[in-house]
Subunit: 352 residues, 2 copies
DNA sequence: TGGGCGACTGATAACGCTATCATAGAGACG
DNA sequence: CGTCTCTATGATAGCGTTATCAGTCGCCCA
């Protein structure tokens, strides 16, 4: 009965609600958008009518009327699928609430030409704001181009604040520091570290956190540092190097989960049990961390939450821009957490 | 110079174009939408103006005016991240072209209540169509609910045509048949198979393909069939069983890539080299297939392409519905391909 | 007690597009 | 040569929302 008014017909409009609640459509709009100058009784009546008719605002009309046509551009290179899908889900969730549109642009990594093209497409393509994810936000040329085009943008997941544009990120260095402390607390004193791709500022930040923790907490520990590139393949190579020497680490800290997974794989191939013979920890807590066995101890970077915040920030900036206000870039640092799973354990000197 | 008319101001509208081309906005609309009753000369003039002003139609206004408010609902359970992101990218790409909106709804797997809620949210939430992905499209209750609500919907990636709703899928059985033939062609005669989650029709279809190929091509071959659930974890368990017996398969066909990855992992832990000692093949060709080492030989299911087709089909149905036409459900079967990578090799009876 | 000030509500006019119908020519045909 | 048909184009009227401004109260303070 409640939804009787539809059934094959058109959806309920603000006017229908208004009629039912005996107010004007304008008041309905106010209630629905949570504006304050509405008396409690009116609000109640409207809300009741809204429920009665299962009213939901027409987003097209909404964005048309408010002259907001917030189309958000999201160029993406080829990050791990896990990262991308978590980001997309977060972004879409938040955009959906606002009635904004998402424009995806594929962007071959590294190929300068492709980046150019993607950017051109974005900036000419009527997007009102851009979300820059992992490797893209660290590219000076891309950030430059965007600043020049005067398009609001938010950088997601960079290793440090670049200035100019707003950022949403975690404190990579502190997170790596914390994780390193955790490893030391477990008693490990021979520790391997696999760095991330040098084209992303998160990589040096994480490495710096690792170094800093060792320097502060266990200057006598022995360390091995291998270059990685955030890919599984590169993790394999690095792990092979770390585990092939006579003297090998008892714990390996990889700069992301994909590489940590590779370490686990190499360890297994070499007959090492994780975590009994080798502690392996990752970074990011993407889905691969729990897909693996043993599940990875890792740093949780709340990607979805960060995406949501980034969208909010971006929309806010788009609105500000529209009103001619110049907004100063924000640097939003989201808290990280350590997630302890089965891939780490207290050091036991068994294999000698 | 071409884009001079913007620069901080508003985007060009159809009216601007009309003025420049000395026609009416209506004619601009016609040209832009490729209607036919427009003289060649007029069309030329308009197109020139469009280029000059870098005009792009305002999608909000467009959908408002044409009373199309195509919001597409996409409930998602927890498929692998790779699958989800590929689907999302395909869907968004295609929807973006049309100015439709995507509404994501999280939907805890299995929990009936959550499904209910998600569906209610979708159907009350003004979506004009629904895209059902992997496990959801196989749920009779969900499909039923949707048919009852008379909302256009397309089922993506089911193992067979359920009738009632339109489907976009590959021929899972034939694909598994083809892959099995490939394994046999490599000389293997002791073959393990890991099934998928029984709640998805793709699982029995793939198993059937495997059985059929063996029956047709090598009735004397020895086979082992283990139950899996499409997850890495379940792959581990199944692989452990397959590889722990005295007599073990020389090739294992997993019903998806995640489980194949698990097989590789177990093999390595047991000191088996892939592919020298064991051939491992997967299904789907999601990103994990190339993330692994060795890269997986697998069946390529063109997820992105399928998503695009599903969206097209859905929009078409939404339009038909709007015009009161009853469209008959389509069963679109997309061709699959076999991708041969490094995880499969000719059978060599070394370890005896 | 009257002027003024808030708090609340409503009327009106966009927003940028397309559906629809009207109109103006250009041929076609008897 | 008048009417009839058909094509190309334009005028008009919304689509469902929100911005803006104009009230209408009730209440406070002088």
């Amino acid at each position: 009965m409640a939804r009787a008014s539809r059934r094959g017909g058109k959806a309920a409009t603000a006017e229908d609600v208004a009629r039912l609640a005996r107010v004007s459509p304008m008041t309905v709009s106010r209630v629905v958008n949570g504006e304050k100058n509405v008396s409690a009784s009116t609000r109640e009546a409207v809300l009741a009518a809204v429920r009665e008719l299962a009213y939901a605002p027409n987003l097209a009309a909404k964005s048309l009327a408010s002259a907001e046509q917030p189309r958000v551009g999201l160029p993406f290179a080829n990050p791990s699928a896990a990262y991308l899908s978590e980001t997309l889900v977060g972004v879409l969730d938040q955009l959906g609430r606002t009635g904004a549109q998402l424009v995806l642009v594929r962007c071959e990594a590294g190929v300068a030409n492709s980046e150019r093209q993607a950017m051109r497409q974005l900036l000419q393509g009527q997007v009102s704001g851009v979300l820059l994810t992992a490797p893209l936000g660290d590219s000076d040329s891309i950030r430059h181009e965007i600043e020049e085009a005067q398009v609001p943008a938010v950088v997601l997941g960079a290793g440090r604040f670049h200035g100019g544009l707003s950022h949403v990120r975690i404190d990579d260095q502190q997170a790596a520091y914390d994780m390193t402390r955790k490893i030391l607390d477990l008693g490990h004193r021979r520790i391997g570290f696999i760095t991330g791709h040098p084209n992303q500022t998160a990589s040096p930040a994480r490495a710096a956190g690792f170094e800093a923790a060792l320097h502060d907490l266990a200057p006598d520990a022995k360390t091995w540092v291998e270059q990685g590139y955030f890919t599984y393949q590169s993790g394999l190579v690095a792990a092979e190097r770390l585990l092939s020497g006579r003297d090998r680490p008892s714990a390996i800290f990889a700069s992301n989960d994909d590489m940590a997974a590779a370490v686990v794989s190499v360890a297994h191939r070499r007959g090492l049990d994780v975590p009994r013979d080798l502690t392996v920890v990752g970074f990011d807590d993407t889905s691969i961390a729990t897909t693996l066995w043993p599940e990875l101890t890792t740093v949780r970077q709340p990607i979805g939450e960060m995406a949501v915040e980034a969208v909010n920030l971006l929309l806010q900036q788009i609105r500000a821009r529209r009103d001619g206000v110049v907004s100063r870039p924000t640097d939003l640092v989201i808290p990280h957490t350590l997630v302890e799973r089965q891939s780490s354990a207290i050091f036991r000197d068994i294999k000698r």
